[in-house]
């Protein structure tokens, strides 16, 4: 439990560092130091925030709610091992709605600043997250149905043992990877280092936050990315209970950081999509999850 909390606090910083170092490596530059996210957060925490004159309670409340929901969602996901601090039947539904709560406060905070860019960003965020939610539910639901379990800690242990389950497993992996790209604002959905406010989705919503508020939001996004990577790692981890908890946890963390390298590599190889094409890309995730659902249903029906 303590180890899980420690991982939830430390791994996000390292994961952000790994993604950035991978990108630097591809570009041929020395790049940002590995722990830069930590230095940034420490610096931001020591600055005095500035608030817009039209801002009300939402701008000030948003960072705490966003961090709180990110941490709670992190407690539901098996980052290190086979047990999670929080676990109950159908907790993946609670997970999705926790994220939803965080998202709505982020959007309200963005709208509260009265800036037209942040309003645009909020509307884009609402659209794309609404589009990707079915993919998440289809994937998690299919894994639940296929494995017969209903809690994250257990349904992510689903492993393929015949062609049909292999299709289920692959479809869910694809869906979860696209979910990571959408929720963590990575290329091809969004460019986290862009300076073009008219193209931003996530970054534009935080343009008016400063000091500790910004530190909290940056940290929360890193936690969200870790959580998504944790989902993938748990689904991919090849070891089983016999390997012992320490080795299992190490493998899991290794896979999470490996996911970081994959994210960084994907970001370095392709360009970002036109905003109008993002729903098509998300549809890819929905289709993959739907195919997984079909495969699972057919298998249980005795076919395949």
């Amino acid at each position: 439990m303590i180890a899980h909390a420690a991982a939830l606090l430390v791994v996000p910083i390292i994961l952000v560092g790994v993604v950035n170092r991978t990108k630097s490596c591809w570009a041929g530059r020395k790049g940002v130091p590995l722990l830069q996210a930590f230095y940034d957060i420490v610096r931001l925490a020591r600055k005095r925030p500035v608030y817009s004159s039209v801002a009300t309670v939402f701008v000030k409340a948003a960072p705490s709610v966003v961090l709180g929901t990110a941490v709670v969602s992190g407690l539901l996901v098996p980052l290190l091992g086979r047990r999670t601090p929080l676990s109950f039947p159908f907790d993946f539904v609670f997970f999705a709605y926790t994220w939803g709560l965080g998202r709505i406060f982020l959007m309200l905070g963005a709208l509260d600043t009265g800036s037209s860019f942040e309003g645009m960003g909020a509307s884009r965020e609402a659209t794309y997250s609404a589009l990707v939610e079915p993919a998440f539910f289809l994937a998690a639901g299919t894994l639940a149905a296929a494995s017969g379990k209903s809690s994250f800690a257990q349904l992510l242990r689903f492993r393929p043992d015949d062609p049909a389950t292999a299709v289920v497993w692959c479809g869910c992996l694809v869906a979860l990877f696209v979910l990571l790209q959408v929720e963590s604002a990575r290329i091809p959905v969004d460019d986290p280092s862009t300076h073009l406010e008219l193209t931003m989705i996530h970054e534009v919503m935080v343009l008016d936050h400063s000091g500790p508020d910004l530190a909290v939001i940056q940290y929360a996004s890193a936690i969200k990315m870790t959580v998504c990577a944790g989902l993938l790692a748990a689904l991919l981890n090849p070891l089983d209970a016999a390997a012992g908890p320490a080795l299992f946890a190490a493998a899991n963390l290794g896979l999470i950081l490996g996911a970081g390298i994959v994210i960084g590599t994907v970001e370095s190889l392709i360009a970002r999509l036109k905003l109008r094409s993002i729903p098509e890309y998300i549809f890819l995730a929905i289709s993959a999850a739907f195919v997984a659902l079909l495969a699972s249903t057919l298998r249980r029906g005795g076919l395949g």
């Binding site: 530059r29 020395k30 940002v32 600055k47 925030p49 500035v50 343009l207 000091g211 910004l214």
Partner: protein, 259 residues
């Protein structure tokens, strides 16, 4: 994808070793001017008369005083002087903390010293910059953009340019501050959270440059915001800007430096 990998190997790792390695600037590079400490002949003011921005004056003892903040690094004074009292070195280090420190007069140059300990601890490993162009011709912008490329790689020091003044620690100002940009510049400064810094980059931001005295401009960033670091040049080479910022953060040598 294979092509990208192949090209990556061809392009290789390009970040320059500076500041741990040499700066590798060519012979004709016009770095910090070197001014003779000998008094000049009475009645000769060829250099001052030829300077386009009136950056050269004489002290009472007839020694040349060159204001680096007004200097646009042309070659007029070098050509005009019959004695060779002024020449260029290839030293790129020029940034200073105050306008007075920018005046060269034969003594050693007073380069920028670091911020106080508390601010250095705050910004030492993470400094975010917000750039505001207040009438610059775009030359300084181009050099600031070059700082982000793989050769100079500003990000390896934890220094990055950010999109919003609210995210920034230091305001980088270029241009002589035109009338129309004055309000916007002040608004950007006010929008930044404290503690904050201001860095004036280029001759225009330091003193107005070639546009000094123009009624549509205000002769530099000083007119509108309090400046912490002055980086002369027209435009300043990326290494000059990098050297100035690193000195400010105390990441080169600590304390006052005389060269």
């Amino acid at each position: 994808m294979w092509k990208i990998i192949k090209t990556r190997f061809q392009q290789g790792y390009r970040t320059s070793a500076y500041p741990d390695g040499p700066s590798a600037l060519p012979e004709r590079f016009r770095g910090r001017p070197v001014v003779s400490s000998q008094p000049c002949a009475q009645g000769c003011s060829a250099c001052a008369d030829s300077c386009p921005t009136q950056a050269i004056a004489f002290a009472e003892d007839r020694r040349v005083r060159l204001d680096l903040g007004k200097c646009i690094f042309c070659t007029e004074c070098i050509t005009a002087c019959p004695e060779g009292a002024i020449s260029y070195s290839t030293d790129h280090r020029m940034a200073a903390r105050s306008r007075e420190d920018l005046i060269l007069s034969g003594e050693e140059a007073r380069l920028a010293h670091a911020l106080d300990e508390k601010t250095r601890k705050l910004f030492g490993r993470s400094l975010k910059l917000r750039e505001v162009c207040a009438g610059s011709c775009n030359g300084c912008e181009a050099e600031l953009t070059a700082l982000n490329n793989v050769v100079f790689d500003l990000s390896r020091f934890g220094i990055q340019f950010v999109a919003s003044p609210r995210h920034a620690d230091a305001l980088v100002v270029t241009g002589p501050v035109t009338d129309h940009m004055r309000g916007a510049l002040r608004a950007a400064y006010d929008a930044m959270p404290t503690p904050k810094l201001v860095i004036a980059v280029g001759a225009c931001a330091v003193s107005g440059g070639p546009f000094a005295g123009s009624p549509q401009a205000h002769d530099g960033a000083d007119s509108t915001v309090p400046v912490d670091l002055y980086i002369p040049g027209c435009p300043p080479h990326p290494l000059t800007i990098l050297d100035g910022i690193l000195r400010l953060l105390g990441r080169l040598e600590g304390g006052r430096e005389r060269v």
